[in-house]
Amino acid sequence: MNCVLGADNILNDTVLYRVIYEAVGHVLPCGVSYVVAGLAMMLILANGVLLGAGLFSWVERRLIGRFHNRIGPNRWGPFGMLQPLADLVKLLTKEDLTPRGADRIVFAIVPVAMVAPVILMMAVVPFAKDTALVNLNVGILYILAVTSITSIAIFMAGWSSDNRYAMFGASRGVAVLISYEVPVVMSLLGVVILAGSMSLDDVVSAQAVPFFLVQPLAFFVFLAGTSAELNRTPFDVAEAESEIIAGYHIEYSGVKFALIQAAEFGAVLTASAVMVTLFLGGWSGPFASYLGWAWFLLKIGVLAFVFSWVRATFPRLRIDQLLAFAWKFLLPLSIINLFATALEVYFLRDAAGTLDTTDLWIMAGINFGVAFACLLIFGTLIKEKVRPAGPVTGAILSPGEAD
Amino acid sequence: MSFEAFLIVAAIMFCIGLYGALARRNVLAVLMSIELMFNGVNITLVAMAKYLAPAGLQNDISTVLTGQVFAVFIITVAAAEIALGLGIVFAMYRTNETVDLSEATQLRH
């Protein structure tokens, strides 16, 4: 039996999928092998992300240790590399508590709802040429859509725990998420304009010049916005230990806690992967084309390092500063970037509506100037406008004013 | 998965939404029910875009997207509706201390 994917099949573009599909197709009926290959891909993806999350948790602990002038986990395995495994065992053997008064069903769904978007996001990211699980023609929108599921999960966690601190954390987290969603989406529009497509594959192939050079402002906004959406220091008001203990996952323990932690570390990797695809040229790089995987992983590593670096360096912001940063700083910047890009494309494109490499370099030059000027101006402005102290925005966001 | 199946699913969703909009007391529940109705309509529109021949098909093939265009408009209007609706809910909560529609009868007087 010989199974071949039709040209109009949505999965036709994926090399890995086709290979599995055809291989299984020799043994099983085509319909079954279609499902089996899909499941296999899902398995690879899910495990890849979770393993990566485990690995990254070790890397980050080591890195932050070094930043803090400590050593970090170093006992188990070479350089303490098996530490994540030890953590996992410890968490699995802990008792899985559910607080009395909690909404049990919702409480149990939360860890899954946290991990799912992280894995789902990876489905459209091309690791190398033609390797994305699905080459969606709305890939960028898909990523944004999937990200928004996280906020629901946070809300579910906060509400179902029946704990006031969890609710504070969830409300703060969601406020941050929906605020930062806006500048992040706006900053991606510049990329979409340049690539002329929302397909991640097209975005990668459009990057004759990596877009972080062409779109420095968008890159900055996206980086800052993503850090906030990942709930990492300096934007981690949702789980600020010193204020609201651990925020929305205060009541979680055991395997559920492990999953939530995995989702958080995995999210860093996924966000880096997305950013690599959108701004750093994805799998493209010098030397042989089969090195795409390597380039991709290398770039992810660099970005993940940046995230850890930021985490280790900056102090936490207050919630009002955080929201002001999104609305008064990042949003104007992303709008300026959008306008600048649109104008540049309008004037630089040729008759067929395409941009060549020279145009991209010209845009890079202009945009660096624009970015520098805007950061300078808005930096000055926000310094004057953000009041140094004062009560936090409302009872829902801060335990200090809880009734 | 025929065209009628989509229509029927959409109709069921619409009617459930209608029931909810008429029979619930909580404003938020009513708003959610209205969203259900919107979604039912959207399914119908998109299904029609996929299966039916639009009027101007012979002149302009892109008219097959008309249904989708309207779905986009409905989604936009829904976003506007929810923004305003929630604004009204908050205003109502502030004045009445309740979101129960049965008690919101000031218009009567």
Partner: protein, 197 residues
């Protein structure tokens, strides 16, 4: 197309059960979560109807924005646990909805729909795919579109429709959104008299 049929029925059941849950579950928070289930199922149906853009927008806007706002509102008002009570009109409304459903189903089944002619189907599908990404000549060649038709397909997308044939409603909707934004801000502004937020 057995596989797609199965998917469709799963989605349909999810949507209908979810919808019933939204209107019947007494716990408002769970009702909102079920509403999200409905939204996601509808997004799945959009994919089956080859409207991928709409599917993604559905999730982005309904799940990512509208559902969140509703949950926020639920959190900020009272009676989350038992907030979703019926009023006195329960029975008339149910009867009424059932009647309307019968009428709608009768219309759906009875009407002689004018389906897309078979020879146009492929092209229509391509255009729906083309709604977002401009298809390259290569892809169109593979799909067997004649060179003279290629430009037509390439120039027909959702965006093109929005800013050509439907530019007036498009602008009107933009203004509506702006007005709604301002209106919502005015409505929730703290009342200076009472000092309440």
């Amino acid at each position: 197309m057995l596989f797609q049929d199965i998917v469709f029925w799963i989605l349909a059941v999810m949507a209908i059960v979810g919808a019933l849950g939204v209107v019947l579950v007494p716990n408002l928070f769970r009702a909102a979560l079920l509403l999200i289930v409905v939204f996601v199922s509808v997004a799945g149906m959009f994919i089956l109807l080859s409207a991928e853009f709409l599917a993604v927008v559905q999730i982005l806007i309904y799940v990512g924005a509208i559902a969140i706002l509703i949950i926020f509102a639920i959190m900020l008002t009272r009676d989350v646990q038992h907030g979703n009570l019926p009023n006195r009109m329960q029975i008339p409304a149910a009867v009424f909805a059932a009647l309307l459903l019968t009428a709608l189903v009768a219309v759906a089944v009875d009407t002689k729909w004018e389906f897309l002619p078979a020879d146009q189907q492929d092209r229509a599908e391509l255009i729906q795919v083309n709604a977002l990404t401009t298809l390259t000549g290569e892809v169109l060649d593979d799909a067997g579109v004649s060179p003279e038709d290629q430009t037509e397909v390439q120039e027909s997308g959702l965006a093109d429709l929005l800013i050509s044939d439907y530019v007036l409603p498009f602008e009107a909707v933009s203004v509506l959104l702006l007005a709604a934004l301002i209106g919502a801000l005015v409505l929730v502004r703290p009342n200076p008299g009472t000092g309440r937020g």
